[in-house]
Symmetry: C2
């Protein structure tokens, strides 16, 4: 059924090795043989089997792409960028959905069985032992959107969430708000912890006495809506840093239903700059995370790890910036 090396070799009147070599980068074949082989291959519509090649070379060109967040639309953008840039490099993403996985072991096992060449973890909300588990499998691992550490034990490409929190505090302050609040995602998420820390300490430094801190149950619209509804009843804040745009949209809708005007009575700054942040109904001022750079960086890193698997883990941080739209009143002059 399938046409193999052997068929091509016979047709071209050469040995199997010759055929193999014409399909291998930088192998030694004369122009003449190459010609013959290519002709035969074309006529038979032959294409080499990656499976067989993988077995022989123990390189599969498969990259495990592991995610546990299929709710937040930014991840669609993330998948788009990952798949495209992997494809461009001749690599293939084997997608793993860890949403309902309380145990990383199973996924690790599975990736080992497929002998993926490398693994990219795409998530900030991941129990710290997960990266470890993948790390332990002896496969190059890059944790995209991972937490910064000066001495990471796994390669990380991401952002400085603490600095982002500070950026948010500074921005709210600049725009003349007086009573700041933080609305995080799940308290267990390191991204929320870091953004909160950065936010509250910068706020303190800027002279804000106390900052109201709340958590949404998830990085999700409803969670933001509910948390904000509670917060509104207490009338404690006039500006909020939401740790995610989705949360921010929920919060904004809650505020509007409560009759508060945005940005005059209450200011909002979000996080991510997802596509929807631009929608007219929201037009959120938000902190943009350099998605493309993070992803290209992760892919590049994993590719270079294929060559030198033992490079010491590094953390690569990329800068975020504030995108000003319409949920903050204009700066006082």
């Amino acid at each position: 059924m399938a046409v193999t090396l052997k068929d091509v070799a016979e047709r071209a009147g050469v040995s199997r090795s010759a055929v193999s070599r014409t399909f291998t980068e930088g192998a030694s074949v004369s122009a003449k043989t190459r010609k013959k082989v290519e002709k035969a291959a074309r006529e038979l519509n032959y294409s080499p089997s990656f499976i067989a090649r993988s077995l022989a070379t123990s390189r599969t060109k498969l990259i495990g792409l592991i995610a546990n967040n299929f709710q937040n639309p930014v991840f669609l953008e993330v998948f788009d960028l990952f798949t495209q840039s992997l494809q461009e490099r001749g690599l293939r993403p084997l997608l793993v959905n860890m949403t309902n996985q309380n145990d990383a072991e199973e996924s690790v096992q599975m990736l080992k069985q497929y002998s993926v060449d490398g693994v990219i973890l795409a998530s900030s909300t991941m129990p710290p032992e997960f990266p470890q588990a993948f790390m332990g499998a002896g496969v190059p691992v890059v944790h995209a959107f991972g937490r910064y550490s000066p001495t990471p034990d796994v390669h990380v490409v991401g952002i400085d969430n603490i600095h982002c929190g500070a950026l948010a505090a500074q921005t709210l302050s600049d725009h003349g708000y007086k009573k700041l609040g933080f609305l995080g995602g799940p308290q267990a998420a390191t991204s929320t912890q870091d953004r909160e820390n950065g936010f509250t300490s910068k706020a303190a430094q800027l002279g804000f006495l106390d900052v109201e801190v709340r958590y949404a149950r998830a990085y999700a619209y409803d969670a933001g809506y509910n948390a904000m509804t509670d917060l509104l009843a207490e009338n404690k804040v006039d500006a909020i840093f939401c740790a995610d745009d989705l949360i921010c949209m929920g919060a904004i809708d809650a505020a509007r239903e409560h009759g508060v005007s945005i940005p005059e009575e209450m200011g909002f700054i979000g996080f991510n700059d997802m596509a929807m942040a631009r929608w007219r109904a929201y037009s959120i001022t938000t902190i943009r995370q350099p998605l493309t750079d993070i992803i290209l960086g992760s892919v590049e890193l994993v590719v270079s790890l294929l060559e030198q698997p033992d490079r010491a883990p590094e953390a690569r941080l990329l800068p975020c910036k504030v995108i000003e739209r319409d949920t903050l009143r204009s700066r006082p002059s």
Copy 2:
């Protein structure tokens, strides 16, 4: 480095075949040997190589998951469901991003090289020759969200878009609107064509004289916003069927900016019932597509095709229903 069959066999004091058999479904091994082998395997932390197994059995358990739409958030839900249900069956999704691909051949080639067991195309906006190309590769293909045909040449699991269009017309009529409009996605998309047909013919049947038909340049917010802005200037309609919720949100925002009140002055019905349709800022009345059923159906179908690859192509249609929210005024009594 990696521990193989041979290592386990030696340690357990049995033949390689014995080890292979204890790891193969329904092979004949005595309880005693199985015990020994499992012990040895555990001690060595052995797990069989899928690559080697694939080579021997010519079954990879890899399913090509092909998509060309990474802009519409519903697809995140689609990926979530696909990956989960494939995983549950011990299959693995090899994700292919055809966004920038004008030629299917390359992807077909690639999937052939990885010898995927089957392929799922997840898209409605796909040139008809693509399914053909994948079909031609001699691999089971299921076209999820594909177009209905009584005599399909590739397996299809999807919805009856013509009927959905009719449903929309009926609904707008029921709610007392008089001047109907259709706002589609790209005119080349079969899903738009079918929804339009169903909509206009049902409208005609219900006595609507002429229906305004427009197309957004893409299934996207901005496209909907722009198309609606144009349409509003002409003041021709009082109710619109948008062929996608994203388009609908753009259109709604355009209408609001134009000062028209929803649902009194203008009614909207969307399509998909994506998560955002529920957001308070929109709360769109929309036609729900049974995503979960389509996906489970597609996976089931592809699985059954693994057993009987030559089953005649069938088209499986699943019912949609209207989800009433707040973008249509209440029915006249």
